[in-house]
């Protein structure tokens, strides 16, 4: 029963709450193909008006960054304060900018 071949693949589910917003990850589920994954996502994740559009993709197709490189990846941004508007001194007289 649990031969690798027989495993039902895992899918990640994304839902857009309403037009104008991003699709957002809400969870995952098992389904044999995309049609059944969409059907199951509709049944499991939209029982109370959670959205008007669903995306599904195979979990195996997602490439993720390695958490052990989180520091190397993301900390350099912390000291680049010149990327933020508050870094620049503009006199009040200039008005809103």
């Amino acid at each position: 029963m649990t031969d690798k071949h027989d495993l039902t693949p895992l899918w990640e589910v994304f839902i857009r709450p309403r037009n104008g917003l991003h699709h957002r990850h809400v969870g995952s589920l098992h389904a044999s193909d995309s049609a059944l994954a969409l059907q199951a996502a509709r049944d499991v994740y939209t029982r109370r008006g959670e959205g008007n559009s669903i995306w599904v993709c195979r979990s195996a197709d997602i490439a993720a960054s390695d958490p052990s490189f989180a520091e190397a990846n993301f900390e350099p941004a912390d000291d680049k304060i010149y990327r933020h508007p508050t870094f620049y001194d503009i006199p009040d007289e200039v008005g809103h900018m």
Partner: protein, 331 residues
């Protein structure tokens, strides 16, 4: 709907002091742990077991109530009960997904449930002989589950906490629909009121047992609290539940079946009578009234659905092959 001190987890772990201290420091800073983060083996094992038991409880929990869907006394009650049982199925799926992020497969968890190896909440091994039991389950069992699940929304493991937020949002309808059933019966004929009282008598003590053994007898509570998987002890949650529920019973005009129940002016909590832990142990170890039926029913559902799963996989494979051939032909 689930609430139980974790049954028989082994939180022992073999990592270096330094690794464990660094992990504990993250927990103490209230950082959430995500699936690919380094974590002690004991933390992973405890969570796989707890989330697995929780998921199994949601799935087995569909059975006692499913028993009454075809016999609900009105269409209004029937659609509400159907929606509730659907929710429980959904809760099971969110939770299985959360456990899967820790490297255990759905198939493995399903096998453990079907073989009887995995535990689930003892409460679902009690029968539902009357319609009033459906009211009592919603009111008491879901009520107890909410007490347990609200702090789990702040659990240190991200996927579990996120699943619990979804579950808690949906759970409050369950308790209200149960209480409404009890209210209707309690305001009905003498026989109906009697039916409500008998259901309360049947479910009160098993509901208190849902919180698990007393803190003094709970073997893995401390480590789970330290890792912030749990936020409150079994006894604290049980007390909160009793304090919230007794006035609700009084409003119904029903009597909580505990002669020793007494308001304690000092602690501002109810003191309660002795819980029959021998019964709890018997039910957890497989000798409750319905243990065998529940596992038999789950096995039947799984076996009856085998052809659907097989057909879906073969169909998906066939379509994938066809697309592959079409692509090659086009190249």
């Amino acid at each position: 709907m689930y609430s139980q001190g974790l049954i028989g987890a082994d939180s022992s772990t073999t990592e270096s002091e330094e690794f464990l201290a660094a992990f504990q420091a993250r927990i103490d800073r209230e950082e959430k742990i995500e699936p690919n983060d380094p974590m002690p083996e004991g933390y992973r094992r405890t969570l796989v077991r707890q989330i697995g038991q929780h998921a199994h409880s949601e799935i087995v929990g569909m059975l006692p109530e499913g028993n009454w869907i075809t016999r609900a006394p009105s269409l209004r009650r029937k659609i509400a009960l159907l929606a509730k049982v659907q929710d429980e199925g959904g809760h099971g799926l969110y939770l299985y997904s959360a456990a899967e992020t820790l490297g255990v497969s759905r198939e493995q968890m399903t096998e453990e449930l079907l073989s009887g190896k995995a535990k689930y909440s003892s409460i679902f091994n009690y029968p539902t002989p009357t319609w009033a039991d459906i009211g009592a389950i919603g009111w008491l069992v879901d009520g107890a589950a909410i007490m347990n699940q609200i702090p789990l929304c702040r659990c240190s493991f991200g996927p579990y906490a996120r699943a619990m937020i979804r579950v808690c949002k949906e759970e409050s309808f369950h308790q209200r629909q149960g209480y409404e059933i009890m209210m209707t019966l309690a305001r009905g004929s003498e026989e109906q009121k009697q039916m409500a009282q008998e259901a309360l008598n049947r479910w009160w003590w098993p509901s208190l047992m849902m919180f698990g053994p007393h803190d003094s007898d709970s073997t893995h509570g401390d480590q789970s609290m330290k890792w912030k998987i749990k936020r409150f002890s079994n006894d604290e949650l049980r007390q909160k539940f009793i304090t919230a529920t007794v006035p609700q019973a009084e409003y119904l005009g029903l009597t909580v079946p505990d002669p020793d129940l007494k308001w304690n002016e000092e602690t501002k909590l109810y003191d309660h009578g002795e819980i029959d832990w021998a019964e709890f142990k018997a039910v957890v170890s497989g000798n409750g009234q319905m243990n065998r039926d529940r596992i038999r029913d789950r096995n039947k559902a799984w076996d009856d659905g085998a052809w659907v799963r097989e057909a879906a996989l073969v169909h998906a494979q066939k379509r994938a092959d066809k697309q592959h051939i079409a692509r090659e032909a086009a190249e």
